[in-house]
Each structure stands twice: as structure tokens, then as C-alpha cells.
């Protein structure tokens, strides 16, 4: 019961990294979703620091499919997708 309550204090976000950013994470493949527990005052910058992904390597930060900046405050259940510069067509 106590454990469940403690867990309840943390929010979880679902993270995916792509196009080479996976090299900064242990044992994660591109596009493989993983959950990260975040504190309620965390923004995207805190998340990148926590994951040890260099901010300058991340060009596009989509949260729930929309572009956000580093100061975006995370919400429980956010889908966070991180990309280096990509393009094509």
C-alpha cells in the first residue's frame, strides 16, 4: 500500500528515441518505447539530463505529436519522441 502511494507521487512519461540518438542509451533500440518516472516539476531539459542525452544532439522534441521546447513541463502519460536533425521527401 505504502509502495503504491509512493509510486503515485511520480509521473510516468513514455519515451522514444530515433535516428541515432539510441547510442546515448543502454540497450535501447530506435523507436522502442520505454517508461521514465519523472518528478512533477520536470521539463524536457530535466528529462534529457536524466537520460544523459546531449541537448545539442536533439533537434526535434515531439510531445504527444506536437513540437515543444526544452522548457516544456512534462505531464503524466506524455508520449515524448526525440530526433536529431532529419529530413527527406
Amino acid at each position: 500500500m505504502t509502495v503504491a502511494l509512493l509510486r503515485g507521487e511520480y509521473m510516468q512519461v513514455e519515451v522514444r528515441v530515433f535516428s541515432g540518438l539510441e547510442k546515448f542509451l543502454d540497450q535501447k533500440r530506435f523507436g522502442e518505447p520505454f517508461s521514465v518516472e519523472v518528478q512533477d516539476n520536470w521539463d524536457l531539459r530535466s528529462l534529457l539530463d536524466h537520460l544523459s542525452i546531449p541537448k545539442e544532439q536533439v533537434f526535434t522534441k515531439l510531445v504527444n505529436g506536437k513540437h515543444q521546447e526544452l522548457d516544456y513541463k512534462l505531464n503524466d502519460g506524455d508520449r515524448v519522441s526525440l530526433f536529431p536533425p532529419v529530413g527527406g521527401g
Binding site: F18, F30, L62, H67, R79, F83, G87, G88
Partner: protein, 575 residues
């Protein structure tokens, strides 16, 4: 002196002509569209004697300007009924530029049956019978021509789909390794070539970077600067070489703009299985290549070489193709995608149109979504010319009519590519309004909508999309005239030195005194020419609209509809 090569398929006369003053400063799309407006009656039958096929290298093709080997092919489209410029990589454009050939014009129509080959070298040009090539796939044709002449030749050819006059047949040419996969795919120009009895054009010339340049010192400086501009840009210098165009699969999916299940949803849970990262991984594992240049001197090298389980290679698999045979059909097997791509390359069909058409067939229940084997089997009908094969070769609009399907993703009869217009609204404006029929390359608003290149315009809102599409359509028309790959735009949009450096190269080559403003004027002029042709062919504002279901059906995950008003769409060409 540059020449125009005119080939009359009625009389079999082949002649070189001086370039009229009017065309001297034009190249690529600028030249093909102007010549089509000047010489093709807009109301003519696209597969009849009065249509012409115009093949032109860009202004810079055949120089050592980086990534400048794009080929423009123009004519009246049997798919849309309007003007068409279809743009391809491969090795033909640089050879034509190096030989001083401004354009090849294929005109007339033979009264008798038979297949011909145009053989072109520095000694001259001749039309020869090629009945032995009739009915063959493009890979075979290219292989035979490379064996018959030499392995340096460029082979422009059509497959059985073009010979059978299918409205979505493309024409292809080869890369350095001989893969006949560099397509001027869109709009059915392969059928126009087929209607004239021309199976192949063989360019036997070993020159690549020999186009005449007036001030070679100034050119060298500008070309070097332009190379640096490309390589310094993160997309052109790093993103494209690493994963190719299919790197887009995941970002478009995450952005919720990936058309899934014939444009029913904006996300596919297995998109990653057919994305660029996976493609690069498999290609490397199997001894293929994750990066490859479609023509010599390209510094972005966004192509790839994908070895298939049957021992053949598909080179390349582009994003739009991976999308149309993947998420659009709810197929998540890259080997199936590669096979469908290869069949199209061989039989001579535009991949995007084929994928959109299979999506319509799946909507109709002719094949099932997610059934790769059924999709392969259906596409194999094209070569046999069966009724189903001919419906597939007819394109998405034809398939919709044949099977009573109204959810057909097409504008002006041409299938909509890999970005849903409800959550990439800038592209929606381009699909609706470009004179080409739905075409993502004509004004690639994915840049500012999703990639954050050249600014940012929220893809889910209508604000700013008309202006964005307008500016991109103008810039694209100009780039397509230069022979530069459109992908230089990623760097050019972000670097103020980009356009001036392109102008420096053109000025050094031609001794002109153009300014960056002239580039905008050129782009606008090309669009005016194309719209004039379409207006004379019977197009009106009503043709500049998206299919109704995009305005009535809500797209997940962003719950969007296409809501840009008709009056706003009519303001795109307000110059």
C-alpha cells in the same frame, strides 16, 4: 553550341536544331513546361500524335555543382489531363548536359506497330528498331543495353506498363551501377513514351562533368561554397546520408501525420518496422548500403541499396514508397515493401500511384489491409495486362470508380503522397493547388510544418499554410529548373548564402548577370506557364480542391480536418 534533339516518331526523322533565343536561359522544368505550353495543344489527347515528351537536363547538370544531376521530363499527363514535369535522378541528365543537349523532344506517333530505340552519342543520333526489347521489364532492358553497348551508357526506358499505355506508367533511367530505378514516375509520362512506340533511349557518352562553363574559376569557387553550404547543414550533411529519405517514417508517424489504412488514421504502431533506421540496419546486415548517390557528384547520397531475400536488390527504397506499400496498406514487412517497389520499377509504374491504388483496392475489399502476399499478387497482374492489372495501372481514381469507392486520395486524378493533409496542412495546400496534381515535392511544406526547417508553421492549424505553400511552390519551380536536387532546399531555406550561391554558379556558367530576385521571378514564371496550360486544357478552381473526405472525416491523433477555405486556396497564385 547547345542543341535540341527532335525525334519525329511519325516520319522517323531525327535532327539536331539550334536553341531558339527564347529557350537559351531555360533548363529543366523551366524548359520542359515552356516547350509544352508552346508546342502541345492543351486539349490534345495525351496518348495521341500531338502530345510531346520533352526531356531536359537542368541548367547546372553536367557541371561539378554538387547534387546537380536531376532530369526533368515534361508533357501532357494522361493521368491528370494537365501539364506534367516529372523529375528524376540517375546518370542521364549529366550526360545530356555534358553533350550540350538542351532537350530531347519526342513527337508524332507511328502509324504502324513496333518498338524503337533512340541511340544517342557524340557522333549523332539514330532511331533503330527495338522489337527485341518489346514487353521486357526495365531491369532487363537496361542490362541488355549495357551489354550491347557498354556499361557506362545511360538507359532511359519504359516497362510493359508504359507499352500498354497505363495512365500511371513512369519512365526510368539507371544509376551508375545499372539499376533502372531512377524514375520520372509521376503522371503517366511512361505511357506517353509508349504511345510513341519508343521503348528506350540509350545515351552512349562517357562524360559527366563536361558541360561548357564560361568562367570556370568563378564557377569552381561558387561550387565549392555551395558544397560547404550543403555539408554544413545537419539535414543535408548528416541526416540524409545516414538514413536516406525513409528517416521520415518515424518522425511523420510520431507527428501523427502518417496516412495509415488508406488515409484513415495518422499513426501506425508498426511504422518503425519499415522506417529508415530499420532499413539501414537490414541493408548493412545483408551487404547492401545505407547511403548511396543516385548520380555522380551528389554530396547528400540519400539513396540506399536494399538486398532482397531473392538475391535481387532494390535500390533505393524511398520514404514515399515505404509509406504507400507499408503503413498505407498496414503492411509492416520491409521485404514485402521492397518486393512491391521492385515490381513497380520493373513493370514501369509510379510507386506512389500504385500504393495509393492498392489502398483503394483494400478499401474495396479486393485485397485485405495487412496482407502483403495479396498486394504482391495484385501488382503482378499489371505485367500480364489482365483487367485487374489495367485497373491498377490506371491509378487510384480509376480504381475508385471501378470499385465504387469514394475515399480516393487523389487531386486532379493523381494520388496523394505520404503526409496526411489534415495534420500537415501546408502540404494539403500544395496537393490541392499545384498544377501537377497531388505532389508532395511541388511545395514541400513538411519542412516548416514538421521538420522545423525554414521556420515553423503549426501543421495542425490553418494559419500561414497558404503563404508557406506559395513560397515553396515558387522556390521549387526554380530549383527544378537548375537541375539541383530539391533536397538542397533544406540548406538553402536555412542559409541566406544559399540562393546567392546558386545564382553565382549559374552566372559563372552562362555569363549572365542574374540576381536572387530573378530566381523568384523564374519560379513564378514557371508556375504561370503551367497554370496557363492547365486553364487552356479546361482546369478551373474546382480542380484545386482536396477530396471531400478530408474536410469531413476527423484524423486521429490530433482530431483534425482539412479546413483551409476555398477562397484561401484560390489565393495561392496571387502573383
Amino acid at each position: 553550341m547547345p542543341k535540341i534533339l527532335r525525334v519525329n516518331m511519325t516520319t522517323k526523322e531525327v535532327k539536331f536544331e539550334d536553341v531558339p533565343e527564347k529557350y537559351a536561359a531555360l533548363g529543366g522544368r523551366g524548359l520542359t513546361s515552356q516547350m509544352v505550353l508552346d508546342d502541345v495543344p492543351p486539349t490534345c489527347e495525351p496518348l495521341g500524335e500531338f502530345n510531346k515528351l520533352v526531356i531536359a537536363p537542368g541548367l547546372l547538370s553536367g557541371t561539378n555543382a554538387p547534387s546537380s544531376g536531376r532530369l526533368s521530363v515534361g508533357g501532357k499527363s494522361p493521368l491528370t489531363g494537365g501539364i506534367k514535369e516529372s523529375n528524376a535522378g540517375g546518370i542521364s541528365s549529366q550526360k545530356l548536359g555534358s553533350m550540350g543537349i538542351k532537350a530531347i523532344v519526342i513527337e508524332g506517333k507511328p502509324s504502324e506497330k513496333g518498338s524503337y530505340m533512340l541511340k544517342l552519342s557524340e557522333e549523332g543520333a539514330e532511331l533503330v528498331a527495338a522489337d527485341d526489347l518489346a514487353g521486357k521489364g526495365t531491369y532487363d532492358v537496361t542490362k541488355i543495353c549495357r551489354e550491347r553497348f557498354n556499361d557506362k551508357v545511360a538507359v532511359i526506358t519504359i516497362g510493359p506498363a508504359g507499352e500498354m499505355l497505363m495512365p500511371s506508367a513512369g519512365l526510368t533511367n539507371n544509376d551508375t551501377e545499372g539499376n533502372s530505378s531512377r524514375y520520372a514516375g509521376r503522371g503517366g509520362l511512361g505511357a506517353v513514351m509508349g504511345s510513341k512506340g519508343l521503348k528506350a533511349i540509350v545515351i552512349d557518352c562517357n562524360k559527366t562533368f563536361d558541360a561548357p562553363v564560361q568562367d570556370s574559376d568563378a564557377f569552381k569557387v561558387a561550387a565549392k561554397k555551395f558544397t560547404k553550404i550543403l555539408l554544413d547543414h545537419p539535414v543535408c550533411g548528416q541526416g540524409l546520408p545516414a538514413y536516406g529519405t525513409n528517416v521520415l517514417m518515424n518522425i511523420i508517424n510520431e507527428a501523427g501525420a502518417l496516412p495509415v489504412r488508406n488515409f484513415s488514421k495518422g499513426r501506425f504502431d508498426k511504422a518503425n518496422d519499415v522506417g529508415g533506421e530499420k532499413l539501414a540496419e537490414v541493408a548493412k546486415e545483408r551487404g547492401g548500403k545505407a547511403t548511396h548517390a543516385c548520380h555522380p557528384g551528389c554530396v547528400m547520397r540519400c539513396s540506399n541499396v536494399y538486398p532482397m531475400p531473392d538475391g535481387k536488390v532494390c535500390a533505393p527504397i524511398e520514404y514515399e514508397t515505404a509509406w504507400c506499400f507499408g503503413p498505407n496498406l498496414e503492411i509492416s514487412d520491409l521485404d514485402v515493401v521492397a518486393k512491391l517497389n521492385y515490381i513497380c520499377n520493373d513493370v514501369g509504374l509510379d510507386t506512389i500511384e500504385a500504393g495509393c491504388t492498392l489502398g483503394v483496392l483494400a478499401e474495396a475489399g479486393v485485397i485485405a489491409f495487412g496482407d502483403g502476399e495479396a498486394a504482391i499478387k495484385a501488382l503482378e497482374e499489371v505485367e500480364k495486362g489482365t483487367p485487374l492489372g489495367r485497373i491498377i495501372g490506371g491509378g487510384s481514381a480509376v480504381a475508385g470508380k471501378a470499385f465504387g469507392i469514394t475515399r480516393v486520395p487523389a487531386v486532379k486524378g493523381q494520388g496523394i503522397p505520404a503526409y496526411d493533409p489534415r495534420s500537415c496542412k501546408g502540404n494539403g495546400v500544395t496537393y490541392a493547388t499545384t498544377p501537377m496534381g497531388a505532389d508532395h515535392t511541388a511545395g514541400y511544406a513538411v519542412t516548416a510544418n514538421i521538420l522545423k526547417v525554414g521556420g515553423h508553421v503549426d501543421p495542425n492549424k490553418s494559419d500561414g499554410q497558404v503563404e508557406l505553400s506559395r513560397n515553396l511552390q515558387v522556390a521549387t519551380a526554380a530549383v527544378d529548373a537548375t537541375g539541383l536536387c530539391l533536397f538542397v532546399a533544406f540548406a538553402v531555406l536555412d542559409n541566406p548564402e544559399g540562393v546567392p550561391t546558386i545564382v553565382e554558379m549559374i552566372n559563372a556558367q552562362y555569363g549572365t548577370e542574374l540576381t536572387p530576385d530573378d530566381v523568384i521571378a523564374l519560379g513564378q514564371q514557371i508556375l504561370k506557364v503551367e497554370r496557363e496550360f492547365n486553364a487552356k486544357a479546361g482546369f478551373t478552381k474546382a480542380d484545386d480542391r482536396l477530396p471531400e473526405f478530408f474536410t469531413t472525416e476527423v484524423l486521429e491523433p490530433h482530431k483534425t480536418k482539412f479546413d483551409i477555405k476555398d477562397e484561401e486556396l484560390d489565393e495561392v497564385f496571387n502573383f
